[in-house]
Amino acid sequence: AQSVAQPEDQVNVAEGNPLTVKCTYSVSGNPYLFWYVQYPNRGLQFLLKYITGDNLVKGSYGFEAEFNKSQTSFHLKKPSALVSDSALYFCAVRDSYHNNAGNMLTFGGGTRLMVKP
């Protein structure tokens, strides 16, 4: 079974400071990992993914994420936070091993990011 955990319900950061939103995963095979962002009363928007290759993945809006196989983590980062980054962030995983008709993703519970001016 595949699973993903986001240990923080909320992360608070001051504008201009670096931000990190944590994600850890559990899969049988190799993980395919994703980050999404959700603004109020909106659907989820795809930010970035890790399938294979370089452990540092760059995505939309200046976000990046670092895949760490030994720590089974895929933390989302941004060097300088903006107030407009305030939103709900979801990590998701797909197990490469699992026979997964439909390519189902398993989502974490979400982390609310609050960036204060």
Binding site: F34, G43, L44, K49, I51, F107
Partner: protein, 114 residues
């Protein structure tokens, strides 16, 4: 750009009514999904479909059914709406091809059952 549209942004229905939520995608995706999102519970998969007329139960299918008669359209049906089905409903779609596993989401339908 991938576009996933949902028939309504906000919907208010009465207990016992039959409710149809429609989702359309324009990217020729094979897979389509219905989730509900509730505070503190994250996203929970209701049903998904990997081909026309094919459907599979997700984690919480009770009280729901789905229909996929055309590749681009996936409908969620609440046979007899109940107050505990008040929620945000999200539709998503994705390719089957290797390496393209990300799902693309519609804007959501906020359903209130009174």
């Amino acid at each position: 750009d991938v576009k996933v549209t949902q028939s309504s942004r906000y919907l208010v229905k009465r207990t016992g009514e039959k409710v149809f939520l429609e989702c359309v995608q324009d990217m020729d995706h094979e897979n389509m999904f219905w989730y509900r999102q509730d505070p503190g519970l994250g996203l929970r998969l209701i049903y998904f479909s990997y081909d026309v007329k094919m459907k599979e139960k997700g984690d919480i299918p009770e009280g729901y059914s789905v229909s996929r008669e055309k590749k681009e359209r996936f409908s969620l049906i609440l046979e007899s709406a109940s107050t505990n089905q008040t929620s945000m409903y999200l539709c998503a779609s994705s390719f089957t091809k290797r390496g393209s596993y990300e799902q693309y989401f519609g804007p959501g339908t906020r359903l209130t059952v009174t």
